[in-house]
Symmetry: C2
Protein backbone atom coordinates (compact mmCIF):
# COMPACT_ATOMS: atom_id res chain seq x y z
CA UNK A 1 0.00 0.00 0.00
CA UNK A 2 1.23 3.44 -0.87
CA UNK A 3 1.26 5.66 2.18
CA UNK A 4 -0.55 8.94 1.53
CA UNK A 5 1.17 12.08 2.80
CA UNK A 6 -0.34 13.71 5.87
CA UNK A 7 -2.82 16.49 4.90
CA UNK A 8 -0.63 19.33 6.20
CA UNK A 9 2.36 18.15 4.11
CA UNK A 10 0.18 18.13 0.98
CA UNK A 11 -1.08 21.60 1.80
CA UNK A 12 2.46 22.83 2.35
CA UNK A 13 3.55 21.34 -0.98
CA UNK A 14 0.63 22.94 -2.78
CA UNK A 15 1.57 26.30 -1.31
CA UNK A 16 5.21 25.93 -2.43
CA UNK A 17 4.14 24.81 -5.85
CA UNK A 18 1.93 27.85 -6.31
CA UNK A 19 4.67 30.18 -4.99
CA UNK A 20 7.06 28.68 -7.56
CA UNK A 21 4.51 29.07 -10.35
CA UNK A 22 3.98 32.70 -9.46
CA UNK A 23 7.72 33.37 -9.21
CA UNK A 24 8.31 31.72 -12.59
CA UNK A 25 5.58 33.72 -14.33
CA UNK A 26 6.66 37.01 -12.78
CA UNK A 27 10.32 36.44 -13.60
CA UNK A 28 9.81 35.37 -17.19
CA UNK A 29 7.58 38.41 -17.71
CA UNK A 30 10.31 40.69 -16.40
CA UNK A 31 13.54 39.32 -17.83
CA UNK A 32 12.42 36.98 -20.62
CA UNK A 33 12.59 33.23 -20.99
CA UNK A 34 16.32 32.74 -21.44
CA UNK A 35 17.38 34.67 -18.36
CA UNK A 36 14.77 32.99 -16.15
CA UNK A 37 16.96 30.21 -14.77
CA UNK A 38 15.82 27.55 -12.31
CA UNK A 39 18.14 29.21 -9.76
CA UNK A 40 16.51 32.61 -10.24
CA UNK A 41 13.01 31.14 -10.01
CA UNK A 42 13.97 29.34 -6.78
CA UNK A 43 15.48 32.49 -5.29
CA UNK A 44 12.38 34.50 -6.12
CA UNK A 45 10.06 31.85 -4.69
CA UNK A 46 12.18 31.60 -1.55
CA UNK A 47 12.90 27.89 -1.96
CA UNK A 48 16.02 25.87 -2.63
CA UNK A 49 16.59 24.92 -6.25
CA UNK A 50 16.51 21.23 -5.27
CA UNK A 51 12.83 21.79 -4.41
CA UNK A 52 12.22 22.76 -8.03
CA UNK A 53 14.27 19.88 -9.42
CA UNK A 54 12.29 17.47 -7.23
CA UNK A 55 9.05 18.39 -9.00
CA UNK A 56 10.06 19.46 -12.48
CA UNK A 57 12.73 18.42 -14.93
CA UNK A 58 13.15 21.79 -16.68
CA UNK A 59 12.07 25.41 -16.55
CA UNK A 60 9.86 24.78 -19.58
CA UNK A 61 7.97 22.26 -17.41
CA UNK A 62 7.65 24.71 -14.52
CA UNK A 63 6.26 27.38 -16.84
CA UNK A 64 3.89 25.01 -18.59
CA UNK A 65 2.39 24.00 -15.26
CA UNK A 66 2.35 27.62 -14.08
CA UNK A 67 0.28 28.63 -17.13
CA UNK A 68 -2.12 25.74 -16.62
CA UNK A 69 -2.46 26.78 -12.95
CA UNK A 70 -3.02 30.43 -13.94
CA UNK A 71 -5.72 29.35 -16.38
CA UNK A 72 -7.45 27.32 -13.68
CA UNK A 73 -7.28 30.21 -11.21
CA UNK A 74 -8.92 32.39 -13.85
CA UNK A 75 -11.74 29.87 -13.94
CA UNK A 76 -10.86 28.41 -17.32
CA UNK A 77 -11.13 24.72 -16.87
CA UNK A 78 -9.97 22.92 -19.99
CA UNK A 79 -13.58 21.95 -20.51
CA UNK A 80 -15.93 22.28 -23.44
CA UNK A 81 -17.06 25.45 -25.16
CA UNK A 82 -20.73 25.99 -24.29
CA UNK A 83 -23.15 24.37 -26.70
CA UNK A 84 -26.44 26.23 -26.46
CA UNK A 85 -27.35 25.25 -29.99
CA UNK A 86 -26.51 28.78 -31.20
CA UNK A 87 -23.00 28.48 -32.65
CA UNK A 88 -22.52 32.21 -33.29
CA UNK A 89 -23.53 33.12 -29.73
CA UNK A 90 -21.27 30.44 -28.23
CA UNK A 91 -18.27 31.54 -30.29
CA UNK A 92 -18.87 35.20 -29.49
CA UNK A 93 -18.96 34.41 -25.77
CA UNK A 94 -15.77 32.37 -25.71
CA UNK A 95 -13.86 34.85 -27.88
CA UNK A 96 -14.96 37.78 -25.70
CA UNK A 97 -13.63 35.89 -22.69
CA UNK A 98 -10.36 35.30 -24.55
CA UNK A 99 -10.04 39.04 -25.28
CA UNK A 100 -10.43 39.74 -21.55
CA UNK A 101 -7.81 37.14 -20.71
CA UNK A 102 -5.33 38.52 -23.27
CA UNK A 103 -5.75 42.00 -21.80
CA UNK A 104 -5.24 40.75 -18.22
CA UNK A 105 -1.88 42.16 -17.04
CA UNK A 106 -1.09 39.01 -14.99
CA UNK A 107 -1.21 37.08 -18.21
CA UNK A 108 0.31 39.53 -20.68
CA UNK A 109 4.04 39.76 -19.91
CA UNK A 110 4.75 36.05 -19.23
CA UNK A 111 2.66 34.97 -22.22
CA UNK A 112 4.50 37.34 -24.51
CA UNK A 113 7.89 36.19 -23.20
CA UNK A 114 6.98 32.58 -23.80
CA UNK A 115 5.43 33.19 -27.22
CA UNK A 116 8.48 35.19 -28.32
CA UNK A 117 10.86 32.41 -27.30
CA UNK A 118 8.68 29.84 -29.06
CA UNK A 119 8.99 31.80 -32.30
CA UNK A 120 12.77 31.33 -32.37
CA UNK A 121 13.21 28.14 -30.28
CA UNK A 122 11.50 25.43 -32.30
CA UNK A 123 11.57 22.74 -29.61
CA UNK A 124 10.09 24.99 -26.94
CA UNK A 125 7.54 26.36 -29.39
CA UNK A 126 6.37 22.89 -30.36
CA UNK A 127 6.17 21.76 -26.74
CA UNK A 128 3.97 24.65 -25.74
CA UNK A 129 1.77 24.29 -28.79
CA UNK A 130 1.27 20.59 -28.04
CA UNK A 131 0.62 20.99 -24.34
CA UNK A 132 -0.96 24.41 -24.02
CA UNK A 133 -2.32 25.82 -27.29
CA UNK A 134 -3.53 22.80 -29.27
CA UNK A 135 -5.71 21.39 -26.43
CA UNK A 136 -7.53 24.72 -26.37
CA UNK A 137 -7.92 24.72 -30.15
CA UNK A 138 -9.37 21.20 -29.97
CA UNK A 139 -12.24 22.61 -27.90
CA UNK A 140 -13.23 24.63 -30.97
CA UNK A 141 -12.86 21.55 -33.16
CA UNK A 142 -15.35 19.71 -30.95
CA UNK A 143 -17.79 22.60 -30.91
CA UNK A 144 -17.63 22.91 -34.70
CA UNK A 145 -18.13 19.14 -35.15
CA UNK A 146 -21.22 19.35 -32.98
CA UNK A 147 -22.44 22.24 -35.17
CA UNK A 148 -21.84 20.10 -38.26
CA UNK A 149 -23.94 17.31 -36.74
CA UNK A 150 -26.65 19.85 -36.04
CA UNK A 151 -26.53 21.06 -39.66
CA UNK A 152 -25.24 24.54 -38.75
CA UNK A 153 -21.83 24.16 -40.43
CA UNK A 154 -21.19 22.81 -43.94
CA UNK A 155 -20.33 19.09 -43.75
CA UNK A 156 -17.28 19.45 -46.02
CA UNK A 157 -15.60 22.04 -43.76
CA UNK A 158 -12.46 20.95 -41.88
CA UNK A 159 -13.06 22.20 -38.31
CA UNK A 160 -9.32 22.34 -37.53
CA UNK A 161 -8.84 24.90 -40.32
CA UNK A 162 -12.18 26.66 -39.82
CA UNK A 163 -11.45 27.61 -36.21
CA UNK A 164 -8.43 29.59 -37.38
CA UNK A 165 -10.70 32.09 -39.14
CA UNK A 166 -11.65 33.60 -35.79
CA UNK A 167 -8.87 32.41 -33.45
CA UNK A 168 -5.84 33.40 -35.55
CA UNK A 169 -6.84 37.01 -36.31
CA UNK A 170 -7.21 37.61 -32.57
CA UNK A 171 -3.91 35.85 -31.89
CA UNK A 172 -2.05 37.89 -34.51
CA UNK A 173 -3.49 41.22 -33.34
CA UNK A 174 -2.40 40.38 -29.83
CA UNK A 175 1.02 38.92 -30.66
CA UNK A 176 2.08 41.45 -33.28
CA UNK A 177 0.03 44.41 -32.09
CA UNK A 178 -1.27 45.02 -35.60
CA UNK A 179 -4.52 46.55 -34.30
CA UNK A 180 -6.59 46.80 -31.07
CA UNK A 181 -8.58 43.83 -29.75
CA UNK A 182 -12.15 44.36 -28.54
CA UNK A 183 -15.38 42.41 -28.11
CA UNK A 184 -16.85 44.18 -31.13
CA UNK A 185 -13.90 43.02 -33.21
CA UNK A 186 -14.24 39.34 -32.25
CA UNK A 187 -18.03 39.51 -32.80
CA UNK A 188 -17.28 40.72 -36.33
CA UNK A 189 -14.82 37.87 -36.91
CA UNK A 190 -17.50 35.34 -35.94
CA UNK A 191 -19.97 36.92 -38.36
CA UNK A 192 -17.48 36.95 -41.26
CA UNK A 193 -16.23 33.43 -40.56
CA UNK A 194 -19.70 31.92 -40.38
CA UNK A 195 -21.27 33.76 -43.28
CA UNK A 196 -18.33 34.63 -45.50
CA UNK A 197 -17.43 38.02 -46.89
CA UNK A 198 -18.57 37.33 -50.45
CA UNK A 199 -21.82 38.69 -51.81
CA UNK A 200 -24.30 35.83 -52.18
Amino acid sequence: MVKKPAPDVTRRSEKSRRAIHEAALALVGEVGYRRSTIEAIAARAGVGKQTIYRWWSSKADVLLEAFLDLGEQAGQKPCEIPDTGDLAADLRAVLRATVDELLDPRFEAPSRALAAEGVVDEQLGREFVTKLLEPRLQLYVRRLRSAQEAGAVRPDVDPRIALELFVSPLAQRWLQRTAPITHEYTDTLVDYALHGIAER
Copy 2:
Protein backbone atom coordinates in the same frame (compact mmCIF):
# COMPACT_ATOMS: atom_id res chain seq x y z
CA MET B 1 22.52 73.04 -57.90
CA VAL B 2 23.17 69.86 -56.01
CA LYS B 3 26.14 68.00 -57.43
CA LYS B 4 25.29 64.39 -58.20
CA PRO B 5 27.87 61.79 -57.15
CA ALA B 6 29.91 60.19 -59.92
CA PRO B 7 28.34 56.91 -61.13
CA ASP B 8 31.10 54.69 -59.71
CA VAL B 9 30.70 56.19 -56.22
CA THR B 10 26.95 55.46 -56.34
CA ARG B 11 27.65 51.93 -57.48
CA ARG B 12 30.17 51.42 -54.70
CA SER B 13 27.69 52.74 -52.12
CA GLU B 14 24.98 50.43 -53.41
CA LYS B 15 27.33 47.48 -53.08
CA SER B 16 28.23 48.41 -49.48
CA ARG B 17 24.63 48.94 -48.62
CA ARG B 18 23.64 45.52 -49.89
CA ALA B 19 26.59 43.89 -48.09
CA ILE B 20 25.43 45.54 -44.86
CA HIS B 21 21.85 44.40 -45.42
CA GLU B 22 22.99 40.84 -45.98
CA ALA B 23 25.26 40.90 -42.94
CA ALA B 24 22.47 42.28 -40.77
CA LEU B 25 19.95 39.64 -41.89
CA ALA B 26 22.40 36.77 -41.50
CA LEU B 27 23.53 37.93 -38.08
CA VAL B 28 20.07 38.52 -36.66
CA GLY B 29 19.03 35.09 -37.91
CA GLU B 30 21.97 33.49 -36.13
CA VAL B 31 22.23 35.29 -32.80
CA GLY B 32 18.88 37.08 -32.44
CA TYR B 33 17.97 40.73 -32.47
CA ARG B 34 19.46 41.85 -29.17
CA ARG B 35 22.93 40.48 -29.78
CA SER B 36 23.11 41.87 -33.33
CA THR B 37 24.88 45.11 -32.53
CA ILE B 38 25.84 47.76 -35.08
CA GLU B 39 29.48 46.82 -34.38
CA ALA B 40 28.85 43.14 -35.14
CA ILE B 41 26.96 43.98 -38.32
CA ALA B 42 29.81 46.25 -39.45
CA ALA B 43 32.42 43.59 -38.70
CA ARG B 44 30.49 40.97 -40.63
CA ALA B 45 29.96 43.27 -43.59
CA GLY B 46 33.65 44.24 -43.58
CA VAL B 47 32.99 47.96 -43.14
CA GLY B 48 33.70 50.44 -40.36
CA LYS B 49 30.81 51.09 -38.02
CA GLN B 50 30.88 54.76 -38.98
CA THR B 51 29.80 53.65 -42.46
CA ILE B 52 26.64 52.23 -40.90
CA TYR B 53 26.02 55.27 -38.73
CA ARG B 54 26.38 57.49 -41.81
CA TRP B 55 23.38 55.83 -43.46
CA TRP B 56 21.20 54.60 -40.61
CA SER B 57 20.36 55.84 -37.14
CA SER B 58 19.73 52.45 -35.50
CA LYS B 59 19.96 48.74 -36.11
CA ALA B 60 16.16 48.64 -36.36
CA ASP B 61 16.52 50.97 -39.37
CA VAL B 62 19.21 48.80 -40.96
CA LEU B 63 17.04 45.72 -40.59
CA LEU B 64 13.92 47.42 -41.84
CA GLU B 65 15.73 48.46 -45.02
CA ALA B 66 17.34 45.02 -45.32
CA PHE B 67 13.91 43.37 -45.29
CA LEU B 68 12.57 45.81 -47.87
CA ASP B 69 15.63 45.09 -50.02
CA LEU B 70 15.17 41.30 -49.60
CA GLY B 71 11.54 41.62 -50.64
CA GLU B 72 12.53 43.57 -53.74
CA GLN B 73 15.19 41.02 -54.66
CA ALA B 74 12.52 38.32 -54.39
CA GLY B 75 10.52 40.31 -56.93
CA GLN B 76 7.92 41.56 -54.51
CA LYS B 77 7.46 45.16 -55.31
CA PRO B 78 5.15 46.82 -52.83
CA CYS B 79 2.64 47.06 -55.65
CA GLU B 80 -0.95 45.98 -56.01
CA ILE B 81 -2.37 42.50 -55.68
CA PRO B 82 -3.46 41.35 -59.17
CA ASP B 83 -7.03 42.26 -60.04
CA THR B 84 -8.19 39.85 -62.73
CA GLY B 85 -11.80 40.29 -61.68
CA ASP B 86 -11.71 36.87 -59.96
CA LEU B 87 -11.14 37.66 -56.28
CA ALA B 88 -10.74 34.05 -55.16
CA ALA B 89 -8.14 33.34 -57.83
CA ASP B 90 -6.20 36.52 -57.04
CA LEU B 91 -6.15 35.78 -53.31
CA ARG B 92 -5.12 32.17 -53.88
CA ALA B 93 -2.22 33.32 -56.05
CA VAL B 94 -0.88 35.91 -53.61
CA LEU B 95 -1.24 33.60 -50.60
CA ARG B 96 0.53 30.76 -52.40
CA ALA B 97 3.40 33.14 -53.13
CA THR B 98 3.44 34.13 -49.44
CA VAL B 99 3.68 30.46 -48.41
CA ASP B 100 6.72 30.08 -50.69
CA GLU B 101 8.29 33.18 -49.22
CA LEU B 102 7.70 32.04 -45.62
CA LEU B 103 9.35 28.70 -46.41
CA ASP B 104 12.37 30.38 -48.06
CA PRO B 105 15.36 29.75 -45.77
CA ARG B 106 16.91 33.17 -46.54
CA PHE B 107 13.80 34.73 -45.08
CA GLU B 108 12.96 32.36 -42.23
CA ALA B 109 15.61 32.90 -39.53
CA PRO B 110 15.86 36.72 -39.68
CA SER B 111 12.09 37.09 -39.90
CA ARG B 112 11.58 34.87 -36.88
CA ALA B 113 14.22 36.75 -34.89
CA LEU B 114 12.58 40.05 -35.67
CA ALA B 115 9.03 38.84 -35.05
CA ALA B 116 10.07 37.33 -31.71
CA GLU B 117 11.66 40.58 -30.58
CA GLY B 118 8.60 42.52 -31.68
CA VAL B 119 6.39 40.34 -29.46
CA VAL B 120 8.23 41.49 -26.33
CA ASP B 121 9.60 44.89 -27.42
CA GLU B 122 6.53 47.00 -28.01
CA GLN B 123 8.30 49.93 -29.68
CA LEU B 124 10.19 47.75 -32.14
CA GLY B 125 7.06 45.67 -32.80
CA ARG B 126 5.02 48.76 -33.60
CA GLU B 127 7.73 50.21 -35.84
CA PHE B 128 7.94 47.08 -37.95
CA VAL B 129 4.18 46.71 -38.15
CA THR B 130 3.88 50.30 -39.33
CA LYS B 131 6.68 50.17 -41.85
CA LEU B 132 6.75 46.57 -43.00
CA LEU B 133 3.58 44.61 -42.22
CA GLU B 134 0.75 47.15 -42.45
CA PRO B 135 1.73 48.41 -45.93
CA ARG B 136 1.43 44.82 -47.17
CA LEU B 137 -1.92 44.37 -45.44
CA GLN B 138 -3.16 47.55 -47.09
CA LEU B 139 -2.66 45.87 -50.47
CA TYR B 140 -5.38 43.40 -49.42
CA VAL B 141 -7.58 46.27 -48.24
CA ARG B 142 -7.36 47.84 -51.69
CA ARG B 143 -8.08 44.54 -53.48
CA LEU B 144 -11.10 43.90 -51.25
CA ARG B 145 -12.41 47.44 -51.80
CA SER B 146 -12.19 46.90 -55.53
CA ALA B 147 -14.11 43.63 -55.06
CA GLN B 148 -16.77 45.53 -53.11
CA GLU B 149 -17.10 48.02 -55.95
CA ALA B 150 -17.47 45.09 -58.36
CA GLY B 151 -20.19 43.58 -56.16
CA ALA B 152 -18.13 40.51 -55.23
CA VAL B 153 -17.83 41.33 -51.52
CA ARG B 154 -20.67 42.41 -49.20
CA PRO B 155 -20.74 46.23 -48.98
CA ASP B 156 -20.99 46.20 -45.14
CA VAL B 157 -17.74 44.21 -44.73
CA ASP B 158 -14.74 46.03 -43.23
CA PRO B 159 -11.86 45.08 -45.55
CA ARG B 160 -9.23 45.69 -42.84
CA ILE B 161 -10.83 43.00 -40.67
CA ALA B 162 -11.83 40.70 -43.54
CA LEU B 163 -8.27 40.28 -44.80
CA GLU B 164 -7.31 38.79 -41.45
CA LEU B 165 -9.50 35.74 -42.13
CA PHE B 166 -6.94 34.43 -44.60
CA VAL B 167 -3.74 36.34 -43.67
CA SER B 168 -3.74 35.72 -39.90
CA PRO B 169 -4.22 31.93 -39.95
CA LEU B 170 -1.20 31.65 -42.24
CA ALA B 171 0.77 34.04 -40.02
CA GLN B 172 -0.06 32.12 -36.86
CA ARG B 173 0.76 28.72 -38.35
CA TRP B 174 4.11 30.08 -39.44
CA LEU B 175 4.93 32.06 -36.28
CA GLN B 176 3.76 29.53 -33.71
CA ARG B 177 4.23 26.37 -35.79
CA THR B 178 0.74 25.19 -34.89
CA ALA B 179 0.41 23.22 -38.14
CA PRO B 180 2.06 22.93 -41.59
CA ILE B 181 1.59 25.60 -44.27
CA THR B 182 0.83 24.53 -47.85
CA HIS B 183 -0.85 25.90 -50.97
CA GLU B 184 -3.81 23.57 -50.39
CA TYR B 185 -4.21 25.07 -46.92
CA THR B 186 -4.27 28.69 -48.10
CA ASP B 187 -6.67 27.78 -50.94
CA THR B 188 -9.00 26.38 -48.27
CA LEU B 189 -8.72 29.55 -46.20
CA VAL B 190 -9.77 31.64 -49.20
CA ASP B 191 -12.79 29.39 -49.79
CA TYR B 192 -13.90 29.54 -46.15
CA ALA B 193 -13.31 33.29 -45.83
CA LEU B 194 -15.25 34.13 -48.97
CA HIS B 195 -18.16 31.74 -48.54
CA GLY B 196 -18.31 31.21 -44.78
CA ILE B 197 -18.37 27.92 -42.95
CA ALA B 198 -22.07 28.04 -42.03
CA GLU B 199 -24.65 25.98 -43.88
CA ARG B 200 -26.75 28.28 -46.05
